[in-house]
Assembly symmetry: C2
Homo-oligomer: 138 residues x 2
DNA sequence: AATATCAATGCAATGGAAGTGCAATTACTG
DNA sequence: CAGTAATTGCACTTCCATTGCATTGATATT
């Protein structure tokens, strides 16, 4: 995958085997993953390396962090061509109470939220909890 | 404060000195507090007691938990006459990136959020981050 | 190619917060 | 005043996030 290498280089991230693997792993998954998920997928690698790799990706706006309320931070690849450097991609996240999976609903942007006078809104986190499409059985 | 005692009794919570103190503490504060905040306010009391007191309040719908994305759960009194037993009070929470305080904006209800077909929405967490009224200097 | 330099990785340890088991204490009941 | 049940305090555990430091690996320079 030359594409991934190109992407990493364009963000000034050195291409390493580990980073390519983790990127591919994130790209395959359609859901947000925890560090433990990554850990289980790469048992040979050290936890710290995985942690720091994801953090690097996060700093360079390749992945974004998701707080879905489970208390465990999850990560997902940013949308292709997102502008995280300029402005957080304010899409909706959905957490399934049944299968415990969290997905990015990138096509569902967060509506403008009114705040009282004196308050300045800079960022919004919106998580909907319920039953996902796979679990609702249709 | 006979009122607090009445409230606790109406929720089948035994009135104890500790519980009255913690309730008053939460009532005085206009912001959401962490367990550590309570701990600092009652250094004589044991952390576990404070923890369990808040949990009891939460179960009995006297306080609600707030996940503002800081990774530390916060708590705030429910609105007077809220119907948390029946349906979570879906109001907005605001987290100030400057003073790090989180407030309930109880008058700002969360708008209806559209989710894709097959998804069932049961609950919504909406946190706006930015600068609060105290910090924005007006 | 050998060396110097800097980044990436692995290992060990730490810290913070949430949660639990059990014994001691306190409050309620008859 | 017992007897019983709930509350409180202490110690301990678990889980995740994070850091320090030594080691390995890659890159650039001579
Ligand atoms: Mn997302
Ligand atoms: Mn609130
Ligand atoms: Zn599901
Ligand atoms: Zn503020």
């Amino acid at each position: 995958m030359q594409k991934i290498e190109k992407l990493l280089e364009s963000k000034n991230i050195r291409v390493t085997a580990m980073r390519l693997l983790i990127y591919k792993f994130l790209a395959e998954k359609q859901i947000a993953v925890t560090l433990s998920d990554i850990e289980n997928a790469f048992e040979k690698a050290d936890r710290t390396t995985l942690y720091r790799t994801v953090k690097t990706f996060e700093e360079k706006d390749i992945v974004h962090q998701i707080d879905d309320g489970t208390g465990i931070t999850k990560y997902a690849l940013c949308e292709n061509g997102c502008n995280c450097e300029i402005e957080r991609d304010l899409h909706l996240h959905f957490h399934c109470n049944n299968c415990n999976e969290t997905v990015c609903l990138t096509e569902h942007k967060i509506p403008q939220i009114k705040v009282p006078d004196g308050f300045v809104s800079e960022n919004v986190n919106l998580v909907v909890k319920g039953i996902c499409d796979k679990c609702s059985g249709q």
